[in-house]
């Protein structure tokens, strides 16, 4: 990928297929002129599109709407915990709860940049980080929790991030998170010198609505064959840019109107200007026109529990994916090493 420049145009088409909630507060043309709501940042519950404009460009308003409702618990506030907290608070969840009752040590100053000399030996890491973290984003409520974690604390919490936590505690809390209804997201992360691990578990059946965040592309249809599977040809002034396995919807097709049913179809790419769909032999012949657009079809992901994942890293039991292609350590040994050291932690 070449260097990214300040002048690059971000080509966009609306992500919404029209069905999901429109969180955008300024709606044009669809709502009565007088019913139009005021400029967002003046309203308390709406999204500050000025502050978040750069992030809305990636997430979209719908995701922002969900993000501003999230409550996240972060347990462990050394370097990793404070970094996660900082990045998350900047993004704007509803609430972040900090948990770390260890008293700050001198060497913590090397990684948690919000701790100061004054905190060493006197305040807990959570208390010491609180003020600065809450100043990062006035829209986020940041507080601490003293004492051990309790199940009641998880009420309304969307996700927990653990670092500096013992294996036994992790196993316990993973079970708790998985069995809540809805499941609480569970992430644990640790650094051991120059090696690190992260584990993510969103429960038995998690819905991913948008697998890559790319803007849906459209193409103009120029022909559809009558065969099995049918081949769709697109206008040659622009590559369709679709990928194998993409879901698409058709509209305004003349002739082969069976395609205009609005139902997503999975495709197989056969060339830069063509792809195949279902068996079209029974359809009426294609005449002209038609627009085909990528659509995001939610899919369900099954996460394995922490306990099971320690033994069998990927749910399907396959080889683990390497985090980096030129890894100095093969991933399996990293995994074993991680398991080994987690086991040793008190």
């Amino acid at each position: 990928m070449s260097a990214l420049e300040g002048e690059e145009l971000h080509a966009l088409e609306p992500t919404s297929t029209g069905n999901s909630d429109r969180q955008d507060v300024l709606v044009t043309g669809m709502v009565d002129f007088l019913g139009h709501l005021c400029i967002p940042h003046r309203s308390e519950t709406a999204i500050d599109t000025n502050l978040y404009s750069r992030q809305i460009g990636t997430f979209g308003m719908e995701t922002m709407g969900k993000l501003i409702q999230m409550k996240v618990l972060i347990s462990g506030l050394r370097g990793l915990g404070v970094e996660v907290a900082k990045n998350l608070i900047l993004a704007g969840p509803a609430m972040v709860i900090l948990h770390d009752d260890s008293i700050a040590e001198q060497r913590d100053l090397g990684a948690n940049f919000y701790l100061t000399e004054q905190d060493v030996g006197s305040r807990t890491r959570a208390e010491a980080s609180l003020k600065q973290l809450s100043e990062l984003n006035p829209y986020v409520s940041v507080r601490t929790h003293q004492g051990p974690l309790t199940e009641e604390l998880l009420s309304g919490v969307s996700l927990v991030v653990f670092s500096e936590t013992s294996q036994s505690e992790l196993l316990r809390w993973n079970e708790v998170c998985r069995t809540r209804n809805p499941p609480v997201g569970f992430i644990t992360a640790d650094c051991f010198g120059l090696a690190s691990s992260v584990f993510v578990d969103f429960g038995e059946s998690f819905t991913c609505r948008d697998k890559d965040g790319e803007e849906p592309r459209s193409a103009i249809v120029s022909g559809v064959t009558l065969e099995s599977p049918g081949t769709v040809h697109t206008h040659q002034d622009r590559r369709h840019g679709f990928n194998d396995g993409d879901w698409v919807v058709f509209r305004e097709v003349q002739g082969m109107t069976q395609l205009n049913d609005g139902k997503p179809r999975q495709i197989k790419v056969t060339g830069p200007y063509s792809f195949s769909i279902e068996d079209t032999t029974g359809y009426s012949a294609y005449v002209s026109d038609g627009i085909v657009t990528q659509t995001k079809v939610p899919h369900s992901i099954k996460f394995s529990s922490y306990k099971n994942s320690l033994v069998q890293p990927k749910h399907s039991g396959e080889e683990m994916h390497a985090a980096d292609l030129s890894a100095s350590t093969p991933p399996c040994s990293s995994h074993k090493g991680c398991v080994f050291s987690l086991g040793l932690a008190p």
Partner: protein, 646 residues
């Protein structure tokens, strides 16, 4: 290659210390995973493992640093390393999202914190509200202040030993008197935290010239990349970069007459409507009003189409003023004129002309990418919502131009529109005059009318981040009216803002992540790994997309420098863009030529200044001309070329 055994020891023995760079890297990745709980993007398939075992030093233990803030770092990297990092002299170019993260890292690492160390950070920008979602060193109260000084103040507060100097200078050819030889030669490395290619090319050029390592990175939404450029070893940035080609160049006729994507509507709204009505027209008018003679001079330099446009716009503004004093009602009328022209009349004209073509040729015209538009509707007593949105934004934009008070109250606005009893002009087929051929010369404008133009008009300056200026509202309304004409999907306001405003999507998570990785490469440079055997295998360039699980994390070795053959007889058979011949002190040209010929072998034909091959400092053929004999005999000039005597 690191063995499994070493990997275990890495985990087992180093269990306690934490490496801050990895914390930064993971902190970004994990925060993004948290956000994925909303269902956006693909979560990692449960495990991420990342390590960089080549950094482990055999010199174990924190030594004197035990119990200090550097205890962890020294335990992992050794005390010699600590001495090296304190002495570093680093130039950080840019203090935005990347710059803030890098400053944090440098402060935590204790870099540049010794007596000989120095960290120079420079950035010309001031802090804006939209920066605050990533540039975490800044607060609301810092808005308006320079980025570099604000950031420096914060990190020095964290680590008072940091020898930091904050500048507000740009880095480029215009600041070379400041960033001179003495400056560059005092550095150990250059660290990019930039957002544009021009500056990147420049710093790379300097690093090539002065033989400095360069750390480079960039982000775009969830995607990011990092590169390490090492003297004598790797390709340089200038070797690899492509020119600023815009892949999504859209054909003019598509924008003007045959859009089929929402993007086309947005681009046309910005390039035509906003640009013409809100920027170009008032600018031309003011230029005309203040200095008619000068205006016409400058007009001649424009293309015919531009000239015509300028004159038409000025005439339009004059006509509006001739009815009387400018008030908000006049603004509404101006807005309505645009509404009729752009979304009613011109659409009907287009359809008529193209339908005629279809009739004449017998071939279907409205096919493929050409969508047959329908004109916008209007109802004098009950105007459609979409039209009102447009009028609301446009009239208020005109109010700005004439310094008339805005009317923000929607109820009042609607009432005024209805009261004005606006009618769409009757349409007639364009027939012979496909293009208006009114002779809009300045001569035809009544000089008396020009005299009466005391009222000035203010041009707009497009500002996407000000929600009160109606700019984005205007763009959204016109985009969607056009989309309605062509039955194209409408665009949400926030999307219009990002596209028309050319906003680069940016996230704190991506930034934090890539900066953590680059910090690790910095450690390697401090350790001197770039001067060791097999250096290229120990450094990583990265290319990551946080949106797609870990499938798209690519870490790879930097590309080696491009080696070219000199084909010279001397001792220098090959060279890379890093190689140079150094000369101490001043040297006359003739001696330089001899020096180079001795060093490189062969004959020196031409010598150019760096980066300019049009001008020759030395040209052998011209030097030889000094020896040519010139005679005039029988009325003819004769030249006898002679080669230079050796």
């Amino acid at each position: 290659m690191f063995s499994e055994e070493n990997a275990f020891s890495c985990y087992a023995n180093r269990m306690d210390p934490r490496d801050e760079r990895l914390c930064a890297f993971l902190g970004g990745a994990v925060a993004q995973e948290v956000i994925k709980k909303t269902g956006k993007f693909t979560p990692v398939e449960q495990w991420i493992h990342h390590d960089d075992a080549c950094l482990v030093q055999s010199t174990a233990g924190a030594g004197d640093y035990d119990g200090t803030r550097y205890a962890h770092q020294a335990a992992v990297l050794g005390t010699n390393f600590m001495e090296s990092i304190k002495k570093q002299r680093v130039f950080l170019v840019g203090c935005g999202a990347l710059g803030c993260e890098y400053l944090k890292g440098l402060a935590l690492m204790g870099a540049c914190s010794g007596a000989d160390g120095k960290l120079i950070v420079t950035d010309m920008d001031r802090i804006e509200v939209s920066n605050l979602s990533r540039q975490f060193l800044f607060r609301q109260s810092d808005v308006g202040n320079p980025k570099s000084t604000s950031a420096a103040r914060v990190v020095k507060g964290w680590n008072p030993d940091l020898q930091i100097e904050a500048l507000e200078k740009g880095v480029g050819v215009t600041s070379e008197d400041f960033f001179d030889d003495a400056f560059w030669t005092s550095l150990d490395l250059c660290w990019n935290a930039l957002d544009n290619v021009v500056a990147r090319k420049y710093t790379d050029k300097c690093c090539l010239w002065y033989g400095l390592p360069l750390l480079e990175s960039g982000t775009l939404g969830t995607k990011c990349n990092s590169d390490v450029f090492l003297p004598g070893l790797t390709k340089s940035y200038n070797d690899g970069v492509e020119t600023d080609a815009n892949e999504t160049q859209i054909a003019m006729c598509t924008l003007r007459s045959f859009p089929f994507l929402p993007l086309h509507c947005i681009e046309f709204a910005k390039q035509a409507y906003f640009s013409d009505y809100m920027e170009f027209a008032p600018q031309q008018y003011e230029s005309f009003r203040k200095d008619p003679a000068g205006f016409f001079e400058q007009l001649d330099a424009m293309s015919e189409a531009e000239q015509f446009k300028a004159l038409k716009m000025i005439k339009g503004i004059i006509e509006l003023q001739q009815a009387g004093a400018i008030d908000f009602d006049v603004c509404i009328k101006a807005a309505f004129n645009h509404y009729c022209r752009d979304f009613v009349t011109s659409i009907r004209d287009l359809v008529y002309n193209c339908d005629e073509i279809e009739k004449t040729t017998g071939k279907p015209f409205w096919t493929g990418t050409k969508r047959r538009p329908i004109e916008a509707k209007w109802d004098t007593s009950a105007p459609p919502a979409e039209a009102l949105e447009y009028l609301y934004a446009t009239a208020n934009c005109y109010a700005f131009m004439w310094k008339v008070p805005f009317v923000r109250n929607r109820t009042e606005f609607q009432k005024r529109v209805v009261q004005l009893n606006l009618q769409v002009p009757a349409w007639a087929p364009p027939s012979d005059k496909k293009v208006e051929t009114e002779e809009d010369d300045g001569d035809k404008v009544d000089p008396a009318a020009i005299e009466a133009l005391k009222a000035g008009i203010w041009a707009h300056d497009f500002e996407k981040d000000d929600d009160t200026n109606f700019h984005i509202d205007f763009l959204t309304a016109s985009t969607n009216l056009r989309a309605s004409n062509y039955d194209i999907k409408h665009t949400e306001r926030s999307t219009v803002k990002v596209t028309a405003g050319r906003i680069i999507p940016a996230l704190a998570t991506t930034t934090a992540m890539i900066c953590g990785l680059v910090d690790m490469e910095f450690l390697k440079i401090v350790l001197g790994m770039h001067r060791e055997e097999g250096a290229l295998d120990k450094f990583y360039n990265a290319n990551v997309n946080l949106a797609t699980g870990l499938q798209a994390m690519n870490v790879f070795r930097p590309e080696p420098a491009i080696v070219r053959k000199t084909e010279l007889p001397g001792s220098v058979a090959e060279f890379t863009s890093w190689d140079k011949v150094e000369v101490d002190g001043e040297i006359p040209l003739e001696e330089l030529v001899k020096h180079l010929e001795a060093k490189l072998g062969g004959e020196l034909r031409r010598l150019h200044p760096a980066g300019n091959d049009k001008v020759a400092l030395y040209d052998r053929s011209q030097a030889e001309m000094l020896n040519w004999k010139i005679e005039i005999s029988a009325g003819q000039v004769q030249v006898e070329q002679q080669h230079r005597q050796e």
